[in-house]
């Protein structure tokens, strides 16, 4: 009983801290935050796998300007990424589109986890 009480007390303390951290968290919805987030999703055209957020190649700077302009114009994230894709090709996005073959990238991990959990459960149930 004493153990249960001390655990419950801690749970309350943790809950309080979690509530405060959610309430006090910095808002990430400003235009600047959106621009910065989009920059991490677009590859620098002259690089192999660096995003425009970290590369200082001329083409990367140009793409950063484009993203900033489009965010100011009020375009949605999806619109901006699609427009960049139509100009530079699909390989400009650092994460392949979830349609077509790209679906594999999201389904296979889930399948793998399910498979492993199932085999682990079967192992546990044996004998």
């Amino acid at each position: 009983m004493k153990v249960l009480r001390s655990f419950a007390l801690w749970c309350v303390a943790l809950l309080a801290v979690v509530v405060f951290s959610i309430a006090l968290r910095p808002s990430g919805s400003g235009a600047l935050a959106r621009t910065q987030h989009l920059e991490t999703l677009v590859r620098c055209p002259a690089c192999v796998d660096l995003s425009v957020a970290v590369s200082n190649a001329t083409s990367a700077i140009a793409v950063r300007h484009e993203i900033a302009t489009k965010v100011r114009q009020g375009q949605s994230d999806n619109q901006i990424l699609t427009s960049l894709e139509s100009v530079y090709g699909t390989s400009i996005l650092l994460s392949p589109p979830a349609s077509g073959l790209g679906v594999l990238l999201w389904i296979v991990p889930l399948l793998v986890v399910v498979l492993l959990i199932v085999s682990a459960l079967r192992l546990a149930r044996r004998r």
Binding site: A46, S59, A62, Y88, S91, R122
Partner: protein, 178 residues
Amino acid sequence: MKRSIMISSLAAIVVVVALSLFLATRHPVLGATEAPSPLLGKAAPQLSGTKLGGGTWSLKSELGHVVVVNFWASWCGPCRVEAPELSTFAWQERNKGVDLVGVVFNDSLSAAAAFAAQYGSLYPSVIDPGGVIANRYGVTSPPTTFVINAKGVVEATLLGPVGAKQLEGVVAHVKATS
């Protein structure tokens, strides 16, 4: 029991066979990104100079032909992958009104000459002392390729190593729209 180990081993074998065959038959990935450089739609900047093997070359004298300009360097890895492809392209297009010229980017004369000799370049390359031509074209990292139409206007900019097929496609598009 024994069956589950058999099944998983067989599954592993099938996956590995497929993966091995797939990987063993891959060729190095070649693909350039088409980029909207500020030069697009404008007259191509002046490009003239001494060629690597001697003699001069000037963009002005090529008016009427489609010109593909490729900035390369001997120390640039993707340029090595690209060089044979460019030679193939240059040879195929030599009588079709398409000229290919290279520009040496930020490199020493001996290194560039050795590179051209090693890869048997079937197209001329212009040296660019001081990086003046590179600056005019806004090139900061090789390989960068520009396609200039017969009227001397820049129609396409490609960043990264370009393959012969991709270049053929771009040039065909430029010819069709100019």
